[in-house]
Symmetry: C2
Subunit: 388 residues, 2 copies
């Protein structure tokens, strides 16, 4: 145990019905809310529920629903113009990871100069920094992203087909209202992909070579919950207990990555979903099973510990055999939840592999360097090819 630190700066409120606290919390920041929301929530009724909660308590709303998967920096810049013009007091983000990441970036631009892409952290050029952003209440409607508790905002630049990440501790939402009742209507496929994303956050944090005891504990709790409850949440979406446990697992996964960080498969999946329009969770699911297979020998003890989270009998097995079982358990989870997918299904082709691997090496070196399994550019191409 070497030196390590932890803090969970935003307040997390979980449970069925917690969204009803929205207006009360929001009013501590002011009377004008910027509501950044997934557009389909307007159809599903969740949107009008949220608006009703705010209006009933006298909060004015400026609404922005130009939110897309892998949010575009141009949409964000447009949203920021609206926020500045309307002089909103605080942000409310309702939706999946895209809505919350869009809101985080708008929260920066609301009180800082420039455009969103200029804030992307890069090793190959200067980028803008900041020390304040507008207060933000995050209300996730999927269980997976964890962005409601992280200091990241991941956005895309369609002009150059790249994704990038803004990271700053002030981006942690002041409040995360994690309400499983908002998640029960999510379809099985989306539930599976987002749930696998939560699994990736947790196991990647745990396997990260820089991980430390506090995020390890949180990651393992999250892995256990996903292993146990994701199949049920996919099969019976209205099972509120399964949704609650997945909502909690997702938030724990977010805390874990905020403290320890991702490795593979995030380092390989993100470049793909920057290039082709693939849902974030699917881009993780596409390589997770294969990456487990080729990397479990890189840290036998930790992979064995992962296997123990799946609640299956492992009595009498050696540490090595348990580590092997972790591969099988994860692959079985992908299969049982219908999350088996390939990069090719979303349009990645053999001709893209060289460029995609190049982006991984250049822009996701943190993820690659912190993996217990070190991979060269050639090996990354080979992984992509295996998952095509």
């Amino acid at each position: 145990m070497s030196q390590f630190s932890f803090v969970i700066p935003g307040e997390v409120v979980l449970g069925a019905g917690v969204v009803n606290k929205l207006a009360e919390i929001g009013k501590s920041y002011g009377s004008k809310a910027y509501l950044c929301m997934d557009p389909f929530l307007e159809i599903s009724g969740v949107g009008s529920e949220i608006e009703g909660l705010l209006k009933k308590d006298g909060v004015d709303i400026v609404k922005f629903t130009k939110v897309k998967p892998n949010p575009s920096c141009h949409d964000i810049d447009e949203g920021a113009d609206l926020c500045r013009k309307e002089k909103c007091d605080f942000m409310v983000a309702v939706g999946g990871g895209s809505a919350i990441d869009t809101a985080k970036a708008i929260a920066i631009l609301a009180i800082n100069p420039g455009n969103s892409w200029e804030y992307i952290a890069r090793s190959d050029r200067e980028f803008r920094t900041f020390s304040e952003s507008l207060p933000l209440i995050a209300v996730p409607t999927t269980a997976g992203t964890g962005t409601e508790v992280t200091h990241y905002s991941v956005i895309s630049n369609p002009d150059i087909h790249e994704k990038g990440c803004i990271h700053n501790k002030v981006l942690v939402p002041d409040f995360a209202l994690v309400d499983p009742e908002l998640m029960v209507s999510k379809p099985p496929k989306l539930t599976a992909y987002t749930g696998i994303d939560a699994m990736c956050h947790s196991l990647e944090s745990f396997l990260n070579v820089n991980s430390t005891p506090f995020p390890d504990m949180i990651a393992l709790e999250s892995v256990s919950l996903v292993a146990r409850y994701l199949p049920e949440a996919v099969a019976n979406g209205t099972n509120i207990v399964a949704r609650e446990k997945m909502a909690y697992a997702s938030t724990l996964g977010g805390v874990a990555i905020a403290l320890a960080g991702t490795i593979l498969p995030h380092g390989l999946g993100q470049p793909v979903s920057g290039l082709v329009d693939m849902p974030h969770g699917a881009s993780m699911a596409a390589s997770l099973g294969h990456i487990m297979e080729i990397s479990y020998t890189s840290n036998i003890e930790k992979f064995a510990r992962l296997a123990e989270c799946f609640g299956e009998p492992l009595d009498g097995l050696s540490t090595y055999a348990k580590a092997e079982m972790s591969v099988e358990f994860v692959q079985r989870l992908l299969k049982d939840t219908g999350a088996e997918v390939t990069f090719g299904e979303y349009g990645l082709t053999e001709a893209d592999l060289e460029k995609t691997a190049e982006i991984a090496v250049n822009n996701y070196s943190f993820d690659l360097n912190n993996s217990p399994l070190k991979v060269s550019k050639e090996e990354i191409i080979e992984i992509y090819r295996n998952c095509l």
Copy 2:
């Protein structure tokens, strides 16, 4: 799982040598530190080490060492006069729970009116509230109190022989520098009592009827660490691994009580150490074994879960039998660490029991109400008598 929330607002930095970050962190608040410190640290060399770290980086120091076990509200008021007069920018608290609780109370009075006892939360009279206090960096030198991460300050009023608690989220230290190297010189008895205090924080939080999944997870990790490492920390104080693990366990215990709260034995021990001068940890150790014995049937599942943290084989035992084992494991830990003690050894007598139980019922009703085992005033007297 009903609604619950969590946040860890202060940054915790753990590990051998982390105290060296003190000046760098302190200077972000200003150039004049109020150093509130246990007086014996001046003799041990830790005091001069801390002063050296601050001065080397150009931080001016105003020193206050009138810190006693069960800190007196009068000493705190005197310390606050000094802090106001010297216009310090931030507080540094170095020592056990008393030094940190003293510093927390001074941090309030530095920028708020009145005296310390007026801020004690009470159900039977009005009390002062506040929304700001001076920034505080806590450097614990014992592993047990957990106050480096809590929003509590427990202080005593010698005029009326009572203890009381100030609680407010701004009392959470901005930084906790938890450095096991500062703990290696602590004698076995002190190590044992403070370690049992950490155990109490964790198991009381876990058993608290209002506990929730997040503090449960943290509490169980802490119980496992104390069970495994406290005997070694007592037997071989210079074993830095054992000290590290206990330091971490203690901080986790603090996070757990901050989120879930204590029950018995805190509800019964605190009134005793307000009345007679008994170290806080000893006042917990005096009743812990007996309370385990009389309360394990109040929540068989949770006591069984506690037993599983002790790393002993429990294969084939029923949940009930495991719960019974938790009693034996805790009593054995008390014995093996030399923490067996009675209230009588510190001067509590039969004649005090009625009054002490009265204080428990009136001032510690939260602890009593949140215990899975409900106890009447008469039963409290009987518990005290059993531990006399």
